[in-house]
């Protein structure tokens, strides 16, 4: 078990959100799309230029930019090597 930022997660890796450290428009938007503490997510893939990232959340797919993923802290099973 380890806490890492969403940006650092790898394709196919799953985890549970522990904190969203942002307010304002971005925070609101992220939360209303279901990214709140306790939600489980899984990295589904990344765009060809490695950004944005696509997540599996509550049966749907969401996309976020990496710099937005930086505000989201996730608890993962096995920490990504490196």
């Amino acid at each position: 078990m380890a806490r890492i930022m969403l940006r650092d997660m790898e394709k196919g890796q799953a985890g549970t959100i522990t904190a969203i450290k942002v307010a304002g428009g971005l925070g609101r938007r992220v939360r209303e799309m279901g990214l709140v503490p306790g939600t489980t997510i899984k990295i589904q893939g990344r765009a060809p230029l490695y950004d944005p990232v696509a997540l599996r959340v509550m049966g749907g797919t969401l996309t976020l930019r990496n710099n937005e993923a930086d505000f989201i802290e996730v608890e993962v099973e096995d920490p990504a090597a490196g």
Binding site: G25, L26, R29, V36, G38, P48, L49, G59, L62
Partner: protein, 743 residues
């Protein structure tokens, strides 16, 4: 109760609201597999089997009822101000937890809700079973499983809706617990609000207090203006102060924000309900859906972009190669009509009006209907399958460099980014962008795309001067439009529209099979828009322009001079020829016909130059020659401001008025231009550039003014774009000439 009442369709973007709306009202509104298709509310009538007349309003999709985007404001204001009898909350059964977040907010608002659990077919395929009775009991509102697409469950849904509407109960807000800090603050604020009847006509005190805590800008602003009007400034101050105190406290104790706590608790409430066995999964929840498997290929690092390019190129080939035949039919149809009228109508201004003004003008535009149809059919497939959303996903990184957003792609594409759109809906589609600056940059640059009205002009020029590689040139022009739009957007974002980027957080809808009905509506809607425009705005503009090109006519003295020339030539011939009893019946030899035609051409040109339009056109020639445009082109370009299609029709009129000899079957404008010594490839290219980038048409400018909220932006886009286009065209033309590519 009365036999007619009003209900609203609300729900998350892409939940299927419009699909249901179309099914209920028989309307043909645009449905697309892309979040945020409907941006304005639409009304329709549903006649229930029991004879009630139900007024249905299709609202734009929203994730929440805060007021951070235009659609949210539209949806919320509708609910609060118009108080519909019932709200049908369309929730996606295959994605229930997320969709219940909005449901929660309807419940908190208190409006009578019936939940339509849509896409029940998709949920079934994914092995998701939902206990609707249990869910209904826990939420305290009816829940009806439906499939808007197939119609399953819709009758039952409407029966329940009618029942709820008949009951006509008062609004009963649900209270969700938000934890001690927030709950206490709400109680305190609520009391104060109620005591002073603050904004009481519109909002319940508890709801209002909650919105203040959620930091809802629209509500805070409304509160301030209400306070100012009613001398309640201290209440507004108290509310804002209270929110600030709570915020500070939460930050200090829990490092979080009030709005975050509110969202967390709402999801907590939803999770507590769903946890009680409402949803069961037959398959492993982590199982890859078909859609995800497709994405593995279509958005992969290497194949993703390659496939995207191939898809777009394929669309061109599809459009241009298959539409060629019907375009030919239409051209010859109009040619035949024109020739028929030429033979059977009496000479005079009426004939000139019908042939030169109406048929050449409108016919030229109608000839492009097949291209428009094929193009939109292709785009409809891309949108309805869900591929366009992937394009936004893949392109976002690139767009961000230019200060835009992945969703700007949609606005560009609607405006003609794949060629053949219209900037008016394109400008409106920018509403889904949340940041005002990115939105402005997108809506100001979207008109650079090759809309359906510019397409005929481009197709004409390409056909006349670059006919050997039509699809390639068209493709290059499209890339050029994108390049220019992006660079200008960057320029705007660095100057007048400086500021931080906004969140990209977006949904990727699952791939779906497009329905034939959906594709047909989509294609027909756009094609019909085009035809209707041709029959109204363009017809009017054509006639107006024909009039300015015909009047004032040549002065009598000059007319007489040409008459005299003709007579002299004929007399010359008759004098030298041997006996001819009736000069009218004489077969003139070819040399003589040519001579007469030359005189006629000189007369027509003189007349056109003398006309109002001719004078305006020659007036501009002093500057426009820099870019290679003669006075005829100038007339067309000025007319193009009314609608870009008019450029074609005006050139058509200009050339048919001044035509040397309209030989049967060879009267198409394209051939006329190709054979005209005054034209060259470089001139054609300069004109293409100018047409692509100069001022948006009148209707678009009106739309920009409306969407940007100030006439200044409309004026800006007219002046900026025209100047930019002129500099570009001049640069290219002068460079081309310097390189010896023709005058």
């Amino acid at each position: 109760m009365s036999k007619s009442f009003k209900i609203a369709l609300a729900g998350n973007p892409n939940a299927g609201k419009t699909t249901l709306f179309n099914r209920l009202t028989g309307a043909r509104q645009h449905v697309g597999n892309y979040p945020g298709v409907t941006v304005e509310k639409k009304e329709g009538i549903y006649n229930s089997p029991s004879g009630a007349r139900v007024n249905i309003v299709d609202l734009p999709g929203t994730y929440s009822l805060t007021a951070y985007s235009v659609e949210e404001v539209v949806a919320r204001d509708f609910l609060v101000h118009e108080k519909p009898r019932v709200v049908i909350d369309i929730a996606d059964a295959s994605n229930l937890e997320r969709h219940l977040y909005l449901t929660c907010q309807f419940l908190e608002l208190g409006v009578p809700v019936v939940i339509a659990l849509n896409m029940i077919d998709v949920a079934r395929d994914r092995g998701i079973a939902i206990e609707t009775d249990k869910l209904a009991e826990m939420l305290g509102v009816p829940v009806i499983p439906v499939s808007a697409r197939s119609g399953e469950g819709v009758t039952e849904l409407m029966r329940v809706v009618e029942e709820v509407a008949r009951a006509d109960k008062d609004w009963q807000p649900v209270h969700i617990a938000y934890g001690e800090d927030i709950d206490n603050a709400i109680l305190e604020m609520e009391e104060r609000l109620a005591a002073r009847s603050f904004l009481a006509e519109l909002y319940a005190p508890r709801w209002l207090a909650l919105k203040y805590l959620e930091n809802d800008e629209q509500i805070v602003a409304r509160g301030r203006s209400f306070a100012a009007e009613h001398g309640l400034a201290e209440v507004a101050e108290y509310l804002e102060g209270k929110v600030a105190t709570v915020g500070k406290h939460l930050m200090a104790t829990m490092e979080t924000y009030p709005e975050a706590i509110v969202a967390d608790h709402r999801y907590g409430y939803i999770k507590s309900i769903l946890r009680q066995g409402v949803v069961t999964h037959t398959y492993d929840e982590d199982r890859l859906y078909t859609s995800d498997r497709i994405d593995r290929v279509l958005t992969s690092r290497i194949f993703g972009p390659l496939i995207m390019l191939a898809v777009l190129l394929g669309l061109y080939h599809f459009t241009f190669s298959y539409s060629e035949v019907p375009v030919g039919w239409l051209e010859s149809l109009f040619g035949t009509v024109s020739a028929f009228l030429d033979r059977h109508m009496a000479e005079g201004p009426l004939k000139s009006l019908v042939i030169s003004g109406v048929i050449d003008g409108v016919g030229g535009v109608m000839g492009f209907v097949p291209i428009i149809m094929f193009m939109f059919f292709g785009i409809a497939i891309l949108e309805d399958t869900g591929y366009l959303a992937r394009v936004a996903f893949m392109m976002d990184r690139v767009f961000r460099i230019f200060g835009l957003h992945g969703s700007s792609v949609m606005a560009y594409i609607i405006s003609g980014g794949i060629a053949g759109g219209c900037a008016v809906p394109g400008v409106m589609a920018t509403r889904t962008l949340r940041s005002p600056r990115e939105r402005m940059a997108t809506l100001l640059t979207a008109p650079f795309m090759n809309c359906g009205a510019k397409l005929p002009v481009l197709a004409l020029m390409i056909g006349a001067f670059f006919s050997n590689n039509r699809a390639q040139i068209m493709f290059l022009l499209t890339l050029l439009a994108w390049a220019v739009a992006l660079i200008v957007a960057k320029f705007l974002r660095l100057t007048v529209l400086r500021g931080e980027p906004t969140p990209f957080v977006m949904e990727l809808p699952p791939y779906r099979f497009p329905t034939f009905r959906g594709l047909a509506i989509h294609t027909w809607e756009k094609t019909w828009q085009y035809i209707r425009k041709a029959a109204t705005v363009i017809l009017g503009a054509s006639i107006l322009i024909w009039a300015t090109m015909t009047f004032p006519g040549l002065p009598e003295a000059q007319k007489a001079e040409f008459q005299e020339q003709r007579r002299a030539v004929v007399a010359d011939y008759l004098g030298s020829a041997t006996a001819a009893d009736d000069p009218g019946e004489v077969e003139f030899p070819p040399e003589l016909s040519a001579e007469l035609a030359a005189i006629e051409a000189a007369r027509a040109e003189e007349a056109l130059l003398h006309s109002l339009a001719g004078r305006v056109g020659s007036g501009f020639e002093k500057i426009s020659w820099l870019a290679g445009f003669d006075w005829r082109t100038n007339i067309a370009l000025v007319g193009g401001f009314a609608a870009k299609e008019v450029i074609i029709s005006t050139l058509g009129t200009a050339y048919s008025l001044g035509e040397v000899a309209p030989e049967e079957g060879d009267s198409s404008l394209s051939r006329t231009l190709a054979n005209d010594p005054g034209w060259s490839k470089i001139k054609a290219f300069s004109l293409i550039l100018f047409v692509m980038f100069y001022s948006p048409c009148f209707v678009t400018v009106v739309c920009i003014v409306k969407e940007a909220g100030s006439w200044k932006w409309g004026a800006f886009s007219m002046a900026f774009n025209t100047l930019f286009a002129f500099l570009l065209a001049t640069g290219v033309y002068q460079l081309g000439r310097a390189l010896g590519l023709g005058g």
